[in-house]
Symmetry: C2
Subunit: 220 residues, 2 copies
């Protein structure tokens, strides 16, 4: 029996009693299951199986299923932040194109990972999560904010409204993503393209900003 410990067969090559990185393995497993099943309604034991452990093991790392989902949520926000950074880096800093690129990246991420979207914006029981730390969820926003701030200065304008503008731009991308993902664009405006809609909306909005007086209620 105990010999087996040393004479490891091919199939059980990686089977040590202690996983080594179970916490992260479970997060990945859960994320994958969510992608596959199209909802966060997977069985804990399936995540455990994927990670190659028993059904009770996950509870050493996560208080309950919600805690695991929260970790996946954090992971999703983190990934989104990286995406935003990559998008912005490809364009001229402070350009309208950079702002649009970030927005398009947002849409691409959201529509490409609809299950994560549900996790991030859907479940009210996880809504609390957004509070405590979320460096992860913040990073993406700060990329946008920097870009908007640079744009403000570039058009010869104070950047005092940059924060409010960023929120508004975020809201546009976020709103269009959600509406698109739920098929409402296809329904009401068949043939329209979300990315094109984002682009025109952004242009129109920024045009409106240019024509507005600073401090005239823009940055409430």
């Amino acid at each position: 029996m105990n010999r087996e410990r040393h004479v490891v067969s091919k199939t059980e090559k990686n089977k040590r009693y202690h996983h080594g990185d179970l916490r992260n393995a479970l997060i990945i497993a859960a994320a994958t299951l969510i992608e596959e099943r199209g909802s966060e309604d997977f069985a804990m034991i399936d995540a455990a199986r994927r990670a190659g452990v028993s059904s009770a093991a996950p509870y050493r790392h996560f208080k309950d299923k919600t805690a695991l989902l929260e970790a996946v949520l954090e992971f999703a926000f983190f990934t989104l932040g990286l995406e935003a950074e990559a998008c912005a880096a490809k364009e001229e800093q402070g350009s309208v194109d950079a702002i649009i690129a970030i927005g398009k990246g947002y849409i691409r991420f959201v529509t490409g990972h609809p299950q994560f979207y549900s996790l991030m914006w859907g479940d009210s029981s996880l809504r609390q999560v957004a509070k405590p730390d979320h460096n992860a969820s913040s990073s993406g926003f700060y990329v946008l904010e920097d870009t908007v701030r640079a744009w403000c200065l570039k058009i010869g304008r104070s950047d005092e409204d940059a924060l409010a503008l960023s929120i508004k731009l975020w809201a546009m991308a976020h709103g269009l993503s959600g509406i698109a993902m739920h098929g409402h664009i296809d329904r009401f405006l068949p043939g329209a393209d979300v990315y094109a809609l984002l682009e025109s909306t952004t242009h129109t909005f920024l045009e409106g900003v240019k024509h507005s007086k600073p401090g005239s209620g823009l940055a409430l």
Copy 2:
């Protein structure tokens, strides 16, 4: 025993074998539970109890819990539509104020019923629901569209872009609602008011529309 059928006590006054309107009673019960518990994660049997029937009775009206949730979803969209209508009716038809009022109504509904929001925008397994019929979910949008169309004509402009504009305005209100509800506005722009943000965003955007050339990529 059978005498009891006629000698009905006060406490069992309303207890007939057949409920009479169980389907709707269950929808209301479920909606109430969702409001109370703050999530759609209520027990089927609780909804049944509220409606005064046994745990299995709901399955005569709904294939499964998801089907019941779908019905609640429809109900929520319907309510939202009524809300939009009421908001628009209070303002001058085709005015910017009317557009803003609808947006504010949207935000009020969403932030006032966060659980419904989850139902409408969160769960991917219910996303399909939006497809088949949804007269309910449409009505609110058409109220907005009519208003926008009137606005276009009022500013001496073709209303060819009204549909696209409506989608964009919806997206703004929707995006701001979601972001606000998840505490991101408090986080990034403490002290800001969603309603004020919606108002300024709408003004800025419509200003941008006025300054844009019709057909210049606005209505993609």
